[in-house]
Symmetry: D2
Subunit: 146 residues, 4 copies
């Protein structure tokens, strides 16, 4: 097991600020770990919506087949949070994102994830191939350093 | 403003046990108040599903137009929780539930709510009349003491 | 039962923008009703923190003894949401807030709540009297029209 | 990237049933992926509480430093859910759990996780060594097949 290393802000070009909630904090006085997965999920989907991907009523949707997160620092409710989103790999029907959570002015991530989407047909629920127009838009998020 | 009085278990005939989650507890070391509304929502919908009401793909759905809850006692994560559900009033298109949250062996509610469903048409999103068969099933939950 | 009337933006002087999350949306394609209570809870506590009330490690904390919400319009995940917060009544140890949820450019609330805090002693968990300095700050949120 | 394989019920000796909630379902009509992390978190902490580990007011607490989950099958709100919990590795101050989510009568997991706890001192927030008594209890959860 290799020790994960926190990503730097400089690795990301796209950031999505998200607000925390009072009930996100658990009995240990910090934001509960399960909240991070909600934030990554939200950031990725916000970006897709903003860029018009997978928004057609009849077209494919993306299901999460894997999420992972390494937690480096505890977060408080009044921290300012931004999710950096980047893509590590674009496959035939899958997209591997590497979301990272940054707080306040810190340059290294407080938490960092793997997030894998698979595009499926809405009805058959089977994987479907990403079309070229979609891949071209996704390419904008490709991380330089991986 | 009259002070609310906690309901007794004896007022209810139907109870739905629900488990709590680690992240339900907030920084004050008790279950956060917003969780109760999730539990009431779940209990009501579980009962409707179990009784086959509003389960048709094409038929009406029920939207919540009001929820309210008075909190009498703090709840801990390892308390055993049961939601008592009863109905106070069945209208033309609305159903007024009175859910109550009971913990462990306590006979009076730790929290108690108002919960109002309005049946709407799935497509037009406009209120629709409750049919007689549905009303008959709902009648089983009518509270005696109101 | 009188029909509730949606508040107007003009009744409020303080607004707190909060972001929605992908998982806030339920199977009916709108923001689930229980989310509104998380947002009201967050807005009130954010305002208290920002104004330095109830932030002392040894001083009183505020517990929610009642929340209620009337839902007027369905909300979508990409709606811009702001919570208007105002106070209807300041008691000996209680504060009655009237939070309202506004979306986008709409002037009337999509949802509107009652939210009652009671100040308690952190250790005894018994109600404690609000001091004058606290009351003075709270007075800034008093709604004109009630 | 190797394709993850779903664990079998037979690999686990300990199962914790947990109820789902109405708001767990997202707009795609299935339980949202972030919910699984709440369930794993709950199952692990329930087991620790039940076995009296890390329950001392002054003793160490366990923070999550990593969670991961592979999602194999979509889950519906009325599925019966049990979390199988087992331990893959007990370190000096860390515990690596392998939680798995089973539905209804299925023998292979619908979702499967990695979950790493690090024991820390409550005040200094620095890692602390697991004592022998704790390790002995944790050993009961060690998975045979890893």
């Amino acid at each position: 097991m290799t020790r994960p290393v926190a990503a730097l802000r400089s690795a990301y070009s796209e950031f999505i600020p998200l607000s925390l909630r009072w009930n996100d904090v658990d009995k240990y006085g910090h934001v509960n770990n399960a909240v991070h997965f909600q934030l990554f999920d939200t950031a990725v989907n916000n970006w897709l919506m903003k860029n018009g991907l997978f928004q057609s009523e009849a077209g494919p949707i993306c299901l999460v087949v894997r999420q992972a997160c390494d937690f480096f620092n505890e977060i408080q409710m009044n921290d300012h949070v931004e999710i950096g989103i980047g893509i590590k790999q674009i496959g035939t029907s899958s997209i591997v994102y590497a979301p990272a959570l940054f707080t306040n002015d810190h340059i290294s991530a407080a938490a960092q994830g793997d997030y894998i989407h698979v595009a499926i047909d809405r009805v058959t629920r089977r994987p479907t191939t990403l079309d070229d127009a979609t891949k071209t838009v996704l390419t904008r998020l490709l991380l330089n350093n991986t």
